[in-house]
């Protein structure tokens, strides 16, 4: 099997992650933050260790401001639902995933006004479009760091600096970028960072994080037991308890911890360097195949993430993905839960086939994939004449 669906979740996971998750079941099986016996305290310590590592990794100085969530979508929902109220204005880009779009539409029905800033050919153009969209009532800018369809990278540092200057809250959807692109919340002026650790941090599925770098506290999305201030009926107002009601995914959190160690050991630059090298090679080879229509740009550091979108003339994206699947190549076709990005690309009807690598992808995987794409293209052409 050759796995090219790493934008959905990375596979395989590093051996040390798998090993630590197993250890979690064997040694850290108590509910953290509830009881006081040794295993409960040891488990709580492991959870805190992960908060510290995540904070350090993303340039945040308060480990308690790392909130564990169900996934990145959950983190984005806490931010969007918890901040916006009727009359507020919010800006997002034209490349957002439904994890941003759907909560925004929900809030627009409650009276919030949503503007879309177009991403441009350059970082400056994109920044100008965000600036132009901002007004007196703009409370929040929420945008993806890197599109899960086009790979386009948004200039989050510049948008963040603008937000800080104007007193606008800034939230970043780092689902595709955390672990692949360098992120520093303080340097990039990010107030809320929403992370999918099961992607670029190689953690288990069903994990998410919200990192908070502001005194502004959104309303809680879920309320309930936190193991703290139990006599009170009000949800705690401090972090992380404000957003962490109910039992946590401890095996997943311990997996995040190990995943961060894995990425730190290799280095974000080394991981992204490997992925860019492979996908540039992929792109150049795919360009040579007749009937293959490349829909994304040549991956280039700083401009677009190392993912490739394409279609084969005469085949739907789903048909191409199915044929690749028959050859053991795992990709995702369709709209990737991001219709606005497809609208921009002109692929809203056709969708596209997305190829996304991880650090475990090899040049041999790329060569095999190119070979299969060529065969599919040739077979389709011969059938159509």
């Amino acid at each position: 099997m050759i796995y090219f669906d790493n934008s959905a979740t990375t596979f395989p996971k590093p051996y040390d992650v798998v090993k630590q998750v197993r250890t979690a079941f064997l040694r850290y099986g108590a509910n953290p933050g509830r009881s006081g016996y040794k295993m409960a305290m040891d488990t709580a310590e492991k959870v805190f260790e992960c908060r510290s590592k995540a904070a350090d990794f993303f340039g945040l100085d308060k480990p308690e401001n790392v909130v564990f969530t169900l996934n990145c979508t959950h983190a984005l929902n806490i931010v969007i639902n918890g901040i916006l109220k009727g009359g507020d204005h919010v800006i997002c880009s034209d490349l957002e995933h439904n994890a941003v779009i759907r909560p925004l539409y929900k809030m627009s029905r409650k009276g919030a006004r949503v503007s879309f800033a177009k991403t441009g050919e350059s970082a400056e153009e994109t920044l100008e479009n965000f600036k132009r969209a901002a007004g007196k009532r703009t409370k929040l800018i929420v945008c993806t760091h890197a599109s899960n369809v086009t790979g386009d990278i948004l200039p989050i540092g510049q948008i963040g600096a603008f937000c800080r200057e104007r007193g606008i809250l800034f939230a970043v959807d780092a689902a595709q970028s955390a672990g692949v692109l360098d992120i520093d919340m303080e340097r990039d002026c990010i107030d809320f960072l929403c992370v999918a650790p099961h992607k670029g941090l190689y953690a288990p599925l069903g994990t998410g994080m919200l990192l908070i770098n502001t005194e502004y506290m959104p309303d809680s999305l879920i309320t309930g037991g936190t193991g703290s201030l139990s006599a009170e009926t009000e949800q705690p107002d401090f972090l992380p308890d404000r957003f962490e009601s109910g039992t946590m995914n401890v095996p997943g959190i311990i997996g995040i911890s190990q995943g961060i160690d894995f990425v730190k050991k290799l280095g974000v630059d080394a991981i992204s360097g490997h992925e860019y090298m492979l996908m540039r090679h992929f792109y150049q080879k795919a360009e040579e195949i007749e009937n293959v229509k490349l829909l994304t740009q040549l991956p280039e550091q700083g401009r677009n993430a190392p993912i490739i979108g394409l279609n084969i003339d005469g085949l739907s994206s789903e048909e191409t993905a199915a044929q690749l699947g028959e050859e053991g190549i795992c990709v995702r076709a369709g709209l990737h839960c991001a219709p606005s990005a497809h609208r921009k690309l002109g692929t809203l009807k056709s969708g596209l086939v997305r190829f996304a690598p991880s650090v475990f992808t090899s040049k041999e995987d790329v060569e095999r994939c190119i070979c299969v794409l060529r065969t599919i293209s040739e077979n389709n052409y011969s059938q159509s004449v």
Binding site: G36, M41, T226, S230, F238
Partner: protein, 74 residues
């Protein structure tokens, strides 16, 4: 339970307190807060096994950690 205790709001605060105090040379452990210094129920406390409790409280307050209870338990 024996020792000098500082109660904080959550297990996360307790773990952070432990880290801060250990770096300063204190010998501490995180435990469930004794009922007598647990004003809101289900809190966690730092058992200061070695070190001055007043200094510890100051260090935690400086780090932005709310100490919500303190006392010695025999």
């Amino acid at each position: 339970m024996k020792g000098k205790y500082l109660t904080v709001k959550s297990v996360t605060n307790a773990m952070k307190s432990k880290e801060i105090l250990k770096k300063q040379g204190f010998d501490v452990a995180v435990e469930r807060a004794p009922t007598s210094i647990n004003p809101d129920g289900c809190s966690f406390a730092i058992n200061i096994k070695r070190g001055n409790i007043n200094v510890a409280e100051t260090l935690l307050s400086t780090a932005g950690i709310d100490v919500i209870g303190r006392g010695g338990v025999l």
